[in-house]
């Protein structure tokens, strides 16, 4: 018997939810760090190329796979790939998408909770007075449980994690229209307002110390981001870093865009929708994300120190350096509060999306109610987050982040593009993307999707395998005390992957010959019977 699937309440709600899915911590933390580490203005050129040749095509593919799968009642990748490719293997390949989103949400929720905690610490001025990098770094690591200098134990971090986890699952339990869409309708406008307020503040900072450092100013910071050095364009590393950033920022390779798109109606536009959501994300990244962290850091610390901060990573920039700046500006507690709350909003609109594929999978393949499916996923994720909190200092999270949040994303995207453009067929795929479209997509994208996007992905996969995956797999340069915990992290991820494979196998056996969703879709009329 066919089950009625939810639909989005409005097109605006859908676009904001999709944009919320894409706009995450990476827009405000990872992007400035990547730009800074890869030549500043030079990075922007390959970044924009990758957006057009990799990002937009992948967004169209994921939206299209999702809407197509949704009409057969599938909200997760195993079912979606199964209807695209009549092969016994297809559904098992869908495991990778559920795996990435499920593992990422486990550690992402914890990082998201730091933003909530630091917004509280900002407004209460808890870290005010800690004006050196070392002190602020100790404050962060103490909060994470690595030392007891500022926090006697891990409980504050645990409580904020618990609050974040409960908010996420409260939203998810409400469902797509009443939960995720409502959250996006509130959180996304707020996020943009907070970010615009921060950008205005950055532009009005000028030169904070004109006597001692007259050349440390916001304009220098903007110049660092936007002045390209054309001689560096031949560096392949910059092109790969830019392509990698496009991946993260648009949330492709996780199956979350497809999961959201599965709730579209058959004739709903995806060509315009994907572009609109992608450009909202780019507005958040290139205009807002690029204008806050790096320019303000250059104004307060100069270019050389800012580059060193960026080398220390995204958390070093967002949770150590910026709080020092907030302490040195009037009403810094308010701007700090806005900055971290903005990160929290960016995080939560993404994390709810990550839980959606596995919840849909359990609902649709095992006939579970929304409440039951959400409770089971919640329990699994809760166990995972506890492991992340307890073993954080031993690299447990880093290991998960690399294999699921970096490497597996490219694998998922490559699987999607090959099945979509080469097995399902680009002719059918092109029709699918253009069905109900309110804009005309230039035909050149037919060839971009078929040839250039897979080539781009293959290049990223090969280079990441050689540069990073092999050394990371062999645990080169990893302190000896971390090795057992990193293996524990790997074991946990393998357990999740095998568990999902088993569930896929069991679900298809269970539904064999049953009156499944597939049978209820009328291909001729293009509607559910």
């Amino acid at each position: 018997m066919a089950q009625k699937r939810e639909n989005w309440g409005s097109k605006v709600g859908l676009i904001l939810a999709m944009a919320g899915n894409a706009v995450g911590l990476g827009n405000f933390l990872r992007f400035p760090v990547q730009a800074s580490q890869n030549g500043g203005g030079t990075f922007m050129i390959p970044y924009l190329f990758a957006f057009i040749l990799l990002g937009i095509p992948m967004a169209w593919i994921e939206w299209s796979i999702g809407r197509h799968g949704g009409k057969y009642g599938h909200g997760s990748m195993p079912g979606m790939l199964d209807v695209l490719w009549k092969s016994k293997v297809a559904k098992y390949l869908g495991m990778f998408a559920i795996f990435t989103s499920t593992v990422i949400i486990i550690y992402y929720t914890y990082i998201e909770s730091w933003s909530l905690a630091f917004s509280f610490f900002s407004i209460t001025k808890s870290y005010f007075g800690l004006e050196s990098f070392n002190m602020m770094h100790s404050f962060l690591t103490s909060y994470q449980g690595e030392n007891t200098q500022y926090f006697a134990n891990i409980w504050p971090a645990y409580i904020f994690m618990l609050i974040t986890f409960l908010i996420n699952f409260f939203v998810l339990r409400k469902g797509v229209s009443k939960g995720i869409e409502k959250l996006a309708l509130i959180a996304m406008p707020l996020l943009f307002i907070f970010a615009i307020v921060l950008v205005i503040r950055v532009f009005t900072i000028g030169t904070p110390d004109p006597v001692n450092h007259p050349d440390w100013n916001v304009m220098k910071g903007l110049a660092f981001i936007w002045e390209p050095d054309f001689s560096m364009l031949g560096n392949a590393k910059i092109w790969l870093a830019a392509a990698g950033q496009i991946f993260f920022t648009l949330s492709v390779g996780m199956g979350t865009l497809s999961a959201y798109a599965s709730y579209l109606k058959e004739k709903d536009d995806i060509a315009l929708g994907a572009i609109s959501a992608s450009f909202l994300n780019e507005f958040a990244e290139i205009i807002l994300g690029a204008t806050i962290a790096i320019p303000v850091a250059v104004a307060f610390f100069g270019i050389t120190t800012t580059q060193n901060i960026a080398l220390g990573g995204a958390f070093n920039l967002g949770f150590v350096s910026l709080p020092i700046i907030f302490q040195n500006m009037p009403y810094g507690e308010i701007f700090g509060f806005l900055w971290f709350l903005m990160l929290f909003l960016a995080g939560i609109t993404s994390s709810v999306a990550m839980a959606q594929p596995i919840i849909s999978f359990l609902e649709e393949q095992f006939g579970l109610s929304k409440n039951k499916a959400t409770a089971i996923v919640g329990a699994l994720i809760f166990i995972g987050i506890n492991l992340v909190v307890v073993f954080f200092q031993y690299g447990f999270l880093d290991e998960m982040d690399y294999w699921s949040g970096t490497f597996a994303l490219v694998i998922v995207a490559l699987i999607e593009v090959i099945i979509y453009a080469w097995i399902f067929g680009m002719d059918k795929g092109w029709k699918e993307i253009n069905k109900g479209a309110e804009i005309k997509i230039p035909k050149i994208f037919y060839y971009v999707i078929k040839y250039i996007t897979p080539f781009y992905l293959l290049a990223i996969l090969i280079s990441w395998t050689i540069q990073d995956a092999i050394p990371i797999f062999l645990m080169q340069n990893i302190p000896a005390e971390e090795i057992p915990y990193r293996w524990l992290s790997r074991g946990f991820m393998i357990l999740i992957a095998v568990g999902i494979l088993f569930l896929i196998h069991f679900a298809w056996k269970r539904n064999e010959g049953k009156d499944t969703f597939k049978l209820d879709y009328d291909e001729d009329k293009g509607e559910i019977k």
Partner: protein
């Protein structure tokens, strides 16, 4: 910032903002059209029932 930096920044910002506003306005317009259609359908149903 050098002239090339300014040109690159202004061109990128203008392109992103104009495409974002254009596509989002198109979505809004289409969303309004859908809700009008929905209202008309609902009114039609009520009249038919009466």
């Amino acid at each position: 910032m050098s002239i090339s930096g300014w040109i690159f920044m202004i061109f990128s910002w203008a392109a992103i903002i104009s495409i974002m506003v254009y596509t989002f306005a198109k979505v809004l317009k289409s969303s309004n059209k859908d809700s009008k259609q929905q209202n008309n359908d609902d009114t039609g149903n009520i009249i038919e029932k009466k």
